[in-house]
């Protein structure tokens, strides 16, 4: 299968960049696993090397398979992965309060990681089929179902971080596939309205405000919320009906924002019920880390101390005091970038950032140069999965994004995420190898 010909057509620069970044990660996991007091290493890096080797096999395997076959089986892949996800979520044994892991004795996998790829494949296929109709609002329903059905299951686990990554990927793919921008803006507006009130209420409760606020008290009461959103919805319906008969353009300006606002209010009731208090608190802690200096705020403070104290040249390999002495939490997974920045300084962190940027832009380049619509959308989807991991993870460790607990693709310790990312790279490679053939 891996003939001389296919090797020569492989995207070697992409694969090389992936290998260097994973090796970088293994080095940092080695460093983070070292205990300077007992002078022993936890040995986690050895496992990561094993995951890397298996990941390479996946990558090469998917490289030589024609990605079009993935499109043909997209629904089956999605269905199978979803089944595994449901089984894991509802029948799996919880680990640290999260039913995200499917255990096979000596190792366990995280199905939600692979769900990311499966969702993107199905979404790319669907958007290819609906290429001409996607600018219609009602055609957005299926893409939203494709994404939000697994998201709801993942939220049930609960794994807030993983669920988060699906949404920007969905919007990116809808955007490049040609959805009407005003539709996307309307949806985002409704979602923002839905989020704002529960957040303010949680903040007030948490920060210990006891005084009542007339407006906010109204929004705590779900009957009031339903009534208000119902009235607005009625206005929207009336305007829509009028528009249907009279075709006056100003009526559009009434019913569209009114329905967006009404939807937002209704959703806020759902969110108030659905989101766990700790999830709402996390977003608030991001907005103001001082709210929780001992919890997740503490993690961010320690991460920033690690990164900042690394300076330009870094403290040296195995010399990072924040990571070596344990002040930096989750240093092999969520905060592995902080270890890089502490031990190798700005030079190291910019090199890593550059390599990651290279992978992303290479992915976008492949998407652009692919004449096949499915291939282009799939490449965009996979690239955006990796990109949003980078944005959310690095953004978090340097203190400009919320604490969502997402790994940094290729670098963080963990088999499932590494497999997912390397499989994605394999598919990208396959698209790259086949792009000139159509």
């Amino acid at each position: 299968m891996l003939g001389r010909d296919s090797i020569s057509r492989m995207d070697l620069s992409l694969i090389a960049a992936v290998i260097v970044v994973v090796a970088f990660g293994i080095l940092m996991i080695y460093s983070a696993g070292f205990d300077p007091i007992d002078k022993i290493n936890s040995g986690l890096y050895k496992k990561q090397i094993l995951w890397f080797i298996i990941g390479m096999v996946f990558l090469l395997f998917l490289s030589v398979i024609n990605y079009k076959q993935l499109g043909d089986y997209a629904l089956y892949i999605y269905g199978a992965m979803f089944l595994v996800l449901v089984v894991t979520t509802f029948f799996g044994r919880p680990i640290r309060g999260t039913s995200a892991w499917l255990s096979f004795g000596i190792f366990s996998i995280q199905p939600s990681e692979f769900m990311k790829l499966a969702s993107v494949i199905l979404l790319a296929k669907y958007l290819e089929l609906k290429e001409r109709d996607i600018s219609k609002f009602r055609e957005l329903l299926i893409p939203f179902l494709i994404i939000f059905i697994p998201v709801l299951v993942i939220l049930k686990q609960p794994d807030f971080g993983t669920a988060c990554i699906f949404i920007p990927v969905l919007f990116t793919m809808l955007f490049v596939a040609g959805a009407d921008v005003s539709h996307l803006v309307a949806i985002i507006s409704a979602a923002s309205i839905a989020l704002i009130f529960p957040m303010i209420i949680t903040y007030r409760e948490w920060a210990g405000y006891t005084g009542s606020n007339f407006l906010l008290d109204l929004f705590v009461n779900k009957d009031v919320l339903f009534t208000v959103s119902g009235i607005i919805l009625a206005i929207a319906a009336a305007a829509f009906t009028a528009h249907y008969f009279f075709k006056k353009p100003f009526l559009r300006r009434i019913y569209i924002p009114a329905s967006v606002f009404s939807m937002g209010l209704m959703l806020s009731v759902v969110i108030q019920k659905l989101f766990k208090v700790y999830q709402k608190k996390r977003i608030l802690v991001f907005l103001n880390p001082d709210l929780d200096p001992h919890g997740s705020g503490y993690n961010i403070i320690q991460s920033k101390v690690a990164i900042g104290s690394g300076g330009i040249a870094g403290k040296g390999f195995l010399q990072g005091t924040q990571s070596q002495l344990g002040f930096l939490p989750e240093k092999t997974t969520d905060f592995v970038f902080s270890v890089v920045a502490e031990e190798f300084g700005l030079i190291g962190s910019v090199i890593l950032l550059g390599l990651l940027a290279f992978i992303i832009f290479r992915g976008l380049q492949i998407a652009l140069s692919t004449k096949d619509k499915f291939g282009a959308l799939l490449a965009t989807g996979i690239t955006s999965i990796v990109f949003f991991h980078i944005l959310i993870n690095i953004g978090m460790v340097i203190g400009i994004m919320p604490v969502t607990g997402l790994p940094l693709c290729f670098v963080s310790y963990g088999g499932s995420n590494l497999f997912m990312a390397m499989m994605g790279m394999g598919i990208l490679n396959s698209i790259s190898m086949n792009r000139s053939m159509y």
């Binding site: 490049v176 330009i312 344990g326 920045a341």
Partner: protein, 602 residues
Amino acid sequence: MLEAFRKRMFVFGGSVALVFLILFIQLVNLQVVHREEYTFKAKMNMENYIPIPAPRGEIYDRYYNIDNSGKVLVSNRPSFNLTLVPESFENKKEIRDVLVKLSGFVKFDIEEVMSEIKKGNPWERVIIKDDVSFETVTKVASHRYLFPNINWEDAPVRVYNYGDIFAHAIGYIGSINKSEYKKLKDSGYKYYQSLGKSGIEKQYDKLLRGEDGQIRRIVDVKNRTEGEEVGKDPLSGNNLRLTLDFDVQKAAFDALGNNRGTVVVIKPSTGEILTMVSKPSYDPNLIISRDNDELLEQLYNDKLKPFLNRSIQSKYPPASTFKLVTSIAALETEKTHPSKRYTCTGKYTLKGFKDHDFFCFRVHGSLDLYEAIGKSCSSYFYQLGYKVGPTSIMKYASYLGLEEKTNVDIPGEIQGFVPSKKWKLKTFGQPWFDGDTINMSIGQGFLAVTPIGMANMLCGIVNNGIVYKPHLLKEVYSPDNKKLVYTPEKQKLREIPLSPITLDTIKKGMRKSVTMGSSGRLSYLKVPICGKTGTAQTRSKRQENKSQHAWFLGYAPFEGSADQAVVVAVFIEYGEWGAVAAVPVAEKIFAKLIEKNYFKKD
């Protein structure tokens, strides 16, 4: 359609580029712009400074280092605290297991330690047992493998070698409290340190405390030590030599017996205090021990006020000892001369709107001023005081320093009180009556003086008008006692221009008190002694069926160089009669002073 896709891909690609730019900018912001701030925070995380307590200076009596009779009054005993940091254990159960093993070596209350751990911050060290001997620590250290996270620290214990005898003069130390810390943190005091709480310990804390050393530890998040080094050696405190004479102090302490009262002995030529005793007393060793809350409360609530240093912190009517002041006022204003005679009929009647009788305790007949002082005849002083008038008496009481602090070098001194006409009008809404003057001439009424103030007044007379500040600190030595660091100079407090006739009259009168008056017990001593007793009527309710305080004020030798002289003041609360209660105490003190050759001519 394809063009639209390309356009949107470029928008997305542009956003991606923007995101990477923002990430890069924030990295530069953290790692270049704010590098110093975060480097400092990283250092704060991993560096942990453990103080090495500086040995506090020792305190000696006046003969230490001069001959072998000197005494170490306060010293330090090496001792250790066994400690643990809860965070360095996996869980509470592991702590308990280790403590159970440890209790095989040292006795302590496991439950108490566990509740202490529950209360505190897991990163803060908890004392398992204080005051552990070196031998015990060695035993624990050699079984280190059994107690991996049990630590120990130096915690020398202050030892007050003579306990209650020197309690009020020397004071004691204690943990710094919140308000003290707020005041003193700028002068380098730390929240975990001890400081002097009263007496010499408080006054000279900065000399005694030295400077704590530091061990710099690199610790991980669980407070495990990666490495440690001595960052700074501790600097021991200076040793102090006091002016107190151990033997005289002890004699005074013993002589007071179970009485409540005080003795102050001062050398007028320098202001050196040889003795400062106050009773009832307390044992500072008990105060500084760790579990002393109950004892402290008991002492604080004690009606007899053991913490009160009666020599400087309480004031009483001076009674007949004030007759010296009335005499001085009369002589200095030339309203009388020493041989002026008045007759005592046992009472003195003040003529007025309504006649009022003032009584003397005996019928003395005709006497001159010498005899009047010697026999303490009240009738004589009623008449003399009436003649001199209140303003002059008040003025001379003030000249002699009775309404000022002596500024003795221990904290807490209060000032005496001399009334004025204005004060009386303001306080009682009444003018000054002649009866008030009569009362004041024999030291009764509104007057109130501290025992040290009274002693200091006599110092002025004995030292021919020059008064030095009474003080307890003689010399300051380096920690190894090899170097004399500092000798406080004697400080002149005031100079009272008293005429030689006045001085001579007072001294002769006081001598007569020994040869023919109420201080007669002192006449057999080998050195001629001068004295004046006093019996103060109190306004407060009777206690133990007695309503009078006993005073003795005296000095020796009668005639001789002022450099040799020593002033003794004895005050006994509810002692009833000066002659009965105070003079025998003075007798023992003078005997000890004579024994120790204070009055021997060179």
